[in-house]
Symmetry: C2
Subunit: 321 residues, 2 copies
């Protein structure tokens, strides 16, 4: 395989202009009481409050806008396979652009995320749980509907769109030392790297120890297979993409890993102290920041850090609405 | 008993000046996707994100500032009995003013709210569950510590402080037709009435049907006893105060009641669609608004409404932090 073509910093700036007014410039929340407890400042970029409940809407909106802009409107159906946030994001991005969407969803997917696909105007195509079953249904949809496939992360337009969250965060909060992001397929992490590649902000990636394929891929210099999908951070069970991995290598990314207990404790902190509903995957970067600060309290004292709360589509007890 | 002395609109303005910079001017959140679903606009005043997790911090801060300002600093201990948010609010307000605080808390109280009292510097005094047991321990604390009692709602300074949330909401969002508030002891509802008494905004109170003492008090023209404390909206199980009731009568308040199912559905909507952690009591006014809109969809179409999300100290599964 030839090396993939990599998006650049300018592509993130273009994406930001392209999707302005379509995606929310989400708040960057900072709480004195939490900062006092920690001994340093944290600014939370609330992508859990982005439209469709995650940052995925940024990349999907950028990708769909590019399709709409380059004459592909002759085939106004887009499709993807997704057990999670990308499907809902693509459904809404398509609806807003006047496209139709066919979203291939495993039968066992989070029912909240399934419901969101329908609410945003996407048609659900059921599939089985394995990647082979997903891809087979996806291929039949592409064939039958002449649908354009919009992948969840391994695409330059998606990566550039995801990077816009970090652009907004850095614009709203100057002088951050680091920005912490979760690493799943790598779309958000590589987009964030690109977005901040011309600043002095250091991007820090965090993975569940139970899904640390990116950590090992960087250590070994080649993409490693993902582990069985058991981490509570369901959005990060996916395999690392080729373009994200190439960007991690090119721009340099440090990845920390966190335990399931650390993820759940960070999620609790966000819910109980900040009153923000964040899904486990969205709590992973805070878990990484807290673990790093515990190891070096003196080094962190008085510093300023950003954390991207990537999504809020958490299951919880209570009636579905 | 002589009629109580009632606070006035100007007292809310004074309170706003007094507590400025000490309490958060919380966001007024509005979501296009929810508005599109509903057919009208709703602005949520996020007192769930107020310091200590509820609007109670406004009244407590105002009351403590008044004590500090009138020479009572000779007795720098404040006390109250509280199974909930007022205790945590008074503890932090006292800490910030350089006062000590003794908070009388029933042994069976929500552990999250107990922990908050300690975190904010309050000393917990355990008591039994009945009002008599609470008052007996409170009396002994007042006696032993020469402590000043700061009641949870039946006090002009508390009411004036609670009204500042509505002042901020009306300033941030012009042309609201209504502002919806929960009714428990009546501090927030009467403060909101006062705050908006010189505007054209109509205040609407909402109670759980299982705790509808204020509804019946207004219908019968005299304070009625509260029902057994079984509603899921634990912050609204308290009995109506004399000053709030007198303000309800003087300024005119319409109170709707909602079922437990309606409360839980509204809480789910806030968690799932707005990604905001709101306790059941804080979801009660939205439940009332949604019920009213269901009865009169044409009348609500295109209108603008405010809802005060009064608190976010909800119990939920996961480790305590």
């Amino acid at each position: 395989m030839s090396p993939p073509e990599l998006p650049e910093h300018a592509d993130v700036l273009d994406a930001a202009r392209r999707i302005a007014g379509r995606v929310l410039n989400t708040p960057a929340v900072c709480r004195d009481s939490l900062n006092e407890t920690l001994g340093f400042q944290v600014f939370f970029k609330c992508e859990n409050q982005q439209r469709t409940g995650s940052f995925k809407f940024r990349g999907a909106t950028n990708a769909v806008a590019r399709l709409a802009g380059n004459g592909s409107a002759a085939a106004p159906v887009v499709t993807t396979h997704s057990s999670g946030n990308h499907g809902a994001a693509l459904a809404l991005a398509a609806s807003q652009a006047g496209f139709e969407s066919e979203i291939v969803v495993p039968r066992g997917a989070n029912p909240l995320k399934r419901a969101a696909v329908s609410r945003y105007g996407g048609r659900i195509r059921d599939c089985g749980e394995t990647l082979a079953e997903r891809e087979s249904v996806l291929a039949s949809v592409i064939e039958a509907c002449h649908a354009l496939y919009v992948p969840p992360y391994d695409h330059p337009d998606i990566i550039a769109g995801q990077g816009t969250a970090a652009l907004e965060l850095a614009a709203a909060v100057p002088d951050l030392e680091t920005v912490w992001v979760p690493v799943g397929g790598g779309g958000l992490a590589s987009g964030t790297l690109l977005a901040l590649s011309e600043s002095r902000v250091v991007v820090r990636g965090v993975e569940p120890a139970l899904a640390d394929d990116a950590y090992w891929s960087l250590r070994l210099g080649a993409i490693q297979p993902q582990k069985p999908p058991v981490t509570v951070a369901d959005g990060l069970r996916t395999a690392l993409g080729r373009i994200p991995f190439a960007l991690f290598q090119k721009l340099g990314l440090t990845i920390d890993t966190v335990s399931e207990e650390e993820i759940l404790a960070a999620q609790s902190l966000l819910w109980q102290r900040l009153k923000l509903v964040v899904e486990p995957s969205g709590a992973v970067p805070l878990a990484g920041l807290l673990a790093a600060a515990r190891k070096d309290p003196a080094g962190f004292r008085g510093t300023r850090h950003g954390v991207i709360l990537s999504g809020g589509n958490a299951l919880f007890p209570g009636p579905s609405v």
